[in-house]
């Protein structure tokens, strides 16, 4: 699978730095699983973190800090007791199709054969998908440690429009299956799209099939019309 739309440099740098809020971070992690190019950029930005660490002007610890830490060292480090993770990069190289979770999706979610929920979602509680407009179902992905963002799983039928909305901060959308178009282009599985705060858009799903996508909003999104009323309890 080839991915066409990627997180911006700033988003990847903030991910590398650990300053991206948990909601968007979940989407970037999902994108990274299927995008070797962004994993390389991320590694380079992490190396910048290493260089900044090495260059940091040291700040002394308490005089007994080393002694106390030495006293806490466990037995000789071994790989037993750590997760059997030695072979972990395999699934990361397997591309999007190989990215799977054993966990079943939330109630009300339909996924085509061979498509699973991305692994980063496995640790998350996802509310049942509820119909909120003709052909549109939404479930909330719980990211309780991030009060500033909200994350939703959308399932949108062929030819349907994703409800029009505006938002206070950046909106991130990751396509899990299917595809959609907006004035900036066409997006398919594995793509991550960032939209600035001032964008008021209404992307349209391809005629060929249902689109399932993950969306994170920094700041509360405002949906227009009836959907805004229906979604309010979620926001």
């Amino acid at each position: 699978m080839s991915v066409h739309s990627h997180p911006g440099d700033e988003t990847l740098l903030r991910h590398a730095a650990g300053t991206l809020p948990a909601g968007p971070r979940l989407l970037v992690e999902t994108h990274l699983q299927g995008c070797p190019a962004c994993r390389i950029t991320l590694r380079r930005f992490e190396a910048v973190g290493g260089a900044l660490l090495e260059a940091a002007e040291p700040v002394a610890l308490a005089s007994d800090a080393l002694a106390r830490t030495l006293a806490r060292l466990g037995p000789a480090p071994t790989t037993t007791g750590l997760r059997a993770g030695g072979a972990r990069p395999d699934h990361l190289e397997a591309g999007f199709a190989g990215v799977a979770t054993a966990r079943r999706g939330p109630e009300g979610l339909w996924l085509p054969d061979g498509v699973r929920l991305p692994r980063p979602l496995a640790a998350r509680r996802i509310g049942a998908l509820m119909p909120v407009a003709p052909g549109v179902r939404v479930g909330r992905v719980h990211v309780p440690e991030d009060a500033q963002s909200s994350v939703f799983l959308f399932q949108i039928g062929p030819g349907r429009a994703i409800p029009r909305h505006t938002h206070a901060g950046t909106e991130y959308t990751h396509v899990i299956c299917g595809g959609f178009s907006d004035p900036s282009g066409h997006y398919g599985p594995g793509d991550l799209v960032e939209a600035d705060a001032d964008v008021d858009h209404s992307p349209r799903v391809d005629d060929e099939g249902t689109c399932v996508c993950l969306a994170a909003f920094e700041g509360r999104p405002r949906f227009h019309g009836l959907l805004g009323v229906v979604l309010r309890p979620f926001l």
């Binding site: 948990a22 290493g50 040291p58 496995a122």
Partner: protein, 192 residues
Amino acid sequence: MSAAPPASGPETGADLSALIVAIARDADRDAFARLFRHFAPRVKAFLMRGGLSANAAEELAQETLLAVWRKAAYFDPARAAASTWIFTIARNLSIDLKRRERYTGTVDAEALEEAADEASGETILMSAEREARVRAALARLSEEQATIVRLSFFQEKPHSQIAQELGIPLGTAKSRVRLALSRLRTLLEDLK
């Protein structure tokens, strides 16, 4: 088998990598002590720049070095600079700390930890000898661009901080950030 390098003078990147290898192979507590003396004060400084209090940063710096002891077997000096590997451990612990502070309800902690471990597995990075070249790339940024990169790294709301520090409007800050990070990425891409 290679013992830890002799302790004399400032530690080089290769020395630091060898210390982690010595911990993994021999549970070498002297190697750990040297690594601690080099990195713990830097991790503390780094976390304080990121907004942690001195106490919290000191605590997390020790936790970071403890994690280095436990995970040393996963360090591969052919693929990672010691500084970068330790940076990613400190970063992940810092994310965990913020999560615990902001939320005390029930999440699937086991699965989260697994995800974090996988993330740190992924952060086995660029070979150690490239460390100096990453520094060289940073040195080629203009002073303003270097400031932007640092602030983008440490600030949770970098645009407003950058606008303030450079005395420029917010909109200008956004486009300068874009330019600076694009140049940084290009310089790093040249490190074949």
